[in-house]
């Protein structure tokens, strides 16, 4: 199923995106499934990483598996400082990846949580150099404001630590960013199931980035389609404005009059 209307586009940098699902290319058992995953997901944006070539064991890079019409979003994974992130971003652009960059600055190897200060510095440097900067971040309001001031094109808060599939553990904080930050909020990391992505979209997230949950699922192409459906459903629900929650008592859906057996004397 693809969206039949294109009046709800996601504007980031120079792009107007119809799909609000971004996908990744890491952790696939066989990279040859990536074209089928990309097609099933409907995604228009796909992440890649930059690494040293293994000199003793040269393999063709990831590019051969990525459909040509997709927009590449290289990440700066491996960077521990803003300077390292900027170096990776410039290499990726020189390699023909385009101007989009996902900033990822991490020095904690156990929890893989992003360093807000270094991320903001890298964002500022690269935005000034004309990059469309999408920083991965812990959903903290002050860090998010720093990223806005630094010139980010969107902010990408984590739902849970990378690769954990635990869902929206940071739900409350992401809700605050959606309310307060005048940039697209793209939930990245921790989304393990389509229902998690759907929930993020219902809350008003602009998009979701999903890698592990698709790549290590039993059937990546089917799971990619499920995530595509979930993101569309969540977005549609957000636009339709979900009904209010009622606490403390029930409210019947059916009329409370005209029951059979009622006596009117």
């Amino acid at each position: 199923m693809t969206s039949s209307t294109n009046d709800d586009l996601l504007h980031i940098g120079d792009a107007f995106l119809e799909s609000r699902l971004f996908i990744g290319t890491g952790k696939y058992g066989d990279d040859a499934v990536i074209p089928a995953v990309a097609q099933a997901s409907g995604a228009q944006v796909i992440t890649v990483a930059l690494r040293r070539v293994d000199i003793g064991n040269p393999k063709d890079g990831m590019l051969s598996h990525i459909p040509k019409n997709m927009r590449l979003l290289p990440n700066t994974s491996g960077a521990r400082t803003a300077d390292e992130a900027a170096r990776i971003a410039r290499l990726a652009r020189a390699a023909g990846c385009g101007d989009w960059i996902k900033i990822e600055v991490i020095s904690d190897n156990r929890h893989l949580l992003p360093d807000g200060y270094e991320t903001a510095k890298a964002t500022e440097t690269l935005a000034k150099e004309g990059f469309v900067v999408l920083p991965y971040m812990n959903p903290d309001l002050y860090v998010a404001r720093d990223l806005v001031n630094a010139g980010a094109a969107a902010v990408m808060p984590l739902g849970a630590p990378i690769g954990t599939n635990r869902g929206l553990r940071t739900r409350e904080m992401i809700g605050i960013l959606i309310e307060e930050i005048p940039l697209p909020i793209i939930v990245d990391a921790g989304i393990g199931r389509p229902s998690h992505a759907c929930e993020a979209m219902e809350m008003g997230a602009a998009a979701c980035l999903v890698n592990t949950a698709i790549a290590v699922s039993g059937h990546p192409a089917r799971m990619a389609a499920a995530f595509g459906d979930a993101v569309r459903a969540g977005r549609a629900a957000y636009l339709a404005r979900t009904a209010p929650v009622l606490e403390g008592h029930a409210a019947a859906s059916s009329p409370l009059t005209g029951f059979l057996g009622e006596c009117h004397e």
Binding site: T25, A49, M62, A92, A189
Partner: protein, 66 residues
């Protein structure tokens, strides 16, 4: 002569071009990203870039990532 290739001391043919080294290593010059002494080398300059002893060369490529 020796250069530092991806962090390791590596013997290469004297006056070897970057293009020559990349192809000799069995790599695809269309997908390899090169950084020589911290400067990005565009692929259009691979053939005219001649390596010198002690050069620090990084050869990279795109891999899967999230």
């Amino acid at each position: 002569m020796e250069i530092y290739l991806n962090g390791k001391t590596t013997a290469v043919t004297p006056e070897c071009s970057l293009f020559g080294l990349i192809t000799e290593l069995g790599l695809n010059p269309d997908t390899v990203i090169a950084e020589l002494n911290r400067d990005i080398v565009p692929s259009s300059q691979f053939e005219t870039t001649i390596l010198k002893p002690g050069d620090a060369l990084e050869l990279l490529h795109l891999v899967g990532g999230g």
